[in-house]
Amino acid sequence: MMFNKKNILVLILLFVATASHAGSSVWEQSYQLAAAGKYEQAAEVIEPVADSGNEYALLRYAYLMYLMGENGDSISYYRKAIEKNPDSIDAKLGITLPLIAQKRWRQVKSYSLQVLRLSRWNYTAHVRLMVAEEGLRKWDALAEHAAQVAKAYPTDGTVLVYLARARAWQGDVSAAKAAYRKVLVRLPAHVEAKNYLKNN
């Protein structure tokens, strides 16, 4: 017999080592290209892995497509990732980025709510939902929502900006000013807050 058990074992180990080395090279290469702002090349390197259905590659490829402004492709790959893992918070938050770029507020709202059903106080999902509520000009909903999240995240300035905007659009100037003052405590250089307080 030409191959004994020992030889087969050596061959298997060699194959595994080579394969894992090649895999890490692909990722390393892609990260380096992305860090250099070469998103297209970074995506090309991992495209075959993404097309093979690897979940991490699907998410990474979708994000790189978003960075390139290829929002349609980005949405398509995020959807593949969601199909593969419907419980993925990463994918559902990720897909909101290209959807925001395309101003598809209702879908942003839908995916944000799906995340909040999985993780009730997920900060990013709450902020993305606020972005959608602002895009849909739902000022009552935004004001109520932002006030709740501000209570849960009292050190955060971003949520207070949304609260202030909603109050301003509701015509409640004093409430808007109060919220913008809180923003300036947390973010002293915030231009929007400074301008509103200066003009009102």
């Binding site: 395309q102 209702r106 709510l113 100037v173």
Partner: protein, 303 residues
């Protein structure tokens, strides 16, 4: 076109069944609009007054597709010109389907739309009865939502008026300015008749409609959310306005119009619109030029 009526009716019925099963949750956005429009005629030899009422149901699935159904009832009272007073009562049904495509290449949203109308009335001459309309449209709006383009093709069929077919091409452009607090839309109506003897001697009529909308900051006078002015210049006959689901099958040759509209948002899911307008017409068959003045009020509730 004759088969269109047969195919649209089941589609409307199916849409109606779908609408009753819609859950107005996070994916479906349903709204209903109820409107009333009383009007009167000045200088008309034949026409006295009109009343029009509409109900529109619209359902959007996320930002992907939508369908709408509209019902309108119009009654026009005619003066006694020898044969006694009489009234034309009309029922009009319309359906609209829209599908949205998002394209990074064009940097915006492309919408494919088709609208159909079926109209029946008790016009004693029968000429304006059983009218059907089909109108496909392609529209584009950029992601910044400050540029809008569309082109619509409309074919209206009047089977009881010597099989008259009116063809209408309606290109329009809209753009936002002043940080989108203002919106200007210019829309052309290019209308051609298949037989000018059946359309008051008019074979080809062109007109342009210009509408300026301004949205106000919170706390504006009278609680107003917006106001708009709409001016139509030129002539048109048997026009179709699918923004309002309106077919002008009972109208004479329109020779311009002007309207002022006010909009309120008393609640996040309620919109109220009030319009006062004047439309100029000429009945070329009897050489009568007259005006129609009207008020229009609509209430939209989103669910």
């Amino acid at each position: 076109m004759k088969n269109f009526k047969r195919s649209l009716l089941p589609a409307l019925a199916l849409s109606s069944v779908m609408a009753t099963n819609v859950n107005a949750g996070e994916d479906w956005y349903v709204s209903t609009t109820l409107s009333a429009m009383p009007g009167m005629y000045t200088g008309s030899v034949e026409r006295d007054s009109l009343f029009s009422g509409s109900l529109i149901l619209n359902a959007d699935y996320l930002d992907s597709f939508s369908f709408a159904m509209a019902y309108n009832n119009t009654a026009i009272a005619f003066k006694d010109t020898g044969a006694g007073t009489f009234e034309i009562a009309q029922d009009a049904f319309a359906g609209r389907l829209q599908y949205h495509f998002f394209t990074d290449m064009l940097g915006g949203k492309v919408t494919a739309q088709v609208v159909g109308h079926i109209i029946s009335n008790d016009d004693p001459t029968g000429l304006t009865d059983e009218v059907t309309v089909i109108a496909p449209k392609l529209a584009y709006i950029n992601y910044d939502q400050d540029l809008y383009l569309d082109v619509e093709y409309t074919e209206s069929y009047y089977p009881n008026n010597g099989d008259l077919t009116m063809t209408q091409i309606t290109p329009s452009i809209g753009f936002g300015f002043n940080q989108n607090a203002d919106w200007l839309r210019i829309k052309a109506y290019l209308i051609t008749s298949s037989d000018k003897n059946l359309s008051q001697g008019e074979e080809s009529l062109n007109s342009v409609d210009i509408k300026w909308t301004h949205w106000l900051a919170p706390g504006a006078t009278l609680g107003l959310d917006s106001f708009f002015i709409d001016v139509l210049a030129g002539k048109r006959i048997f026009a179709v306005d699918n923004d309002a689901f309106t077919v002008y099958n009972l109208a004479d040759v329109q020779q311009g119009s002007v309207l002022l509209g006010l909009g309120w948002k008393p609640g996040e899911s309620v919109d109220i619109t009030a319009i006062a307008g004047v439309e100029n017409y000429e009945n070329k068959l009897i050489g009568n030029v007259y005006n129609q003045q009207y008020l229009y009020v609509s209430l939209t509730k989103s669910w």
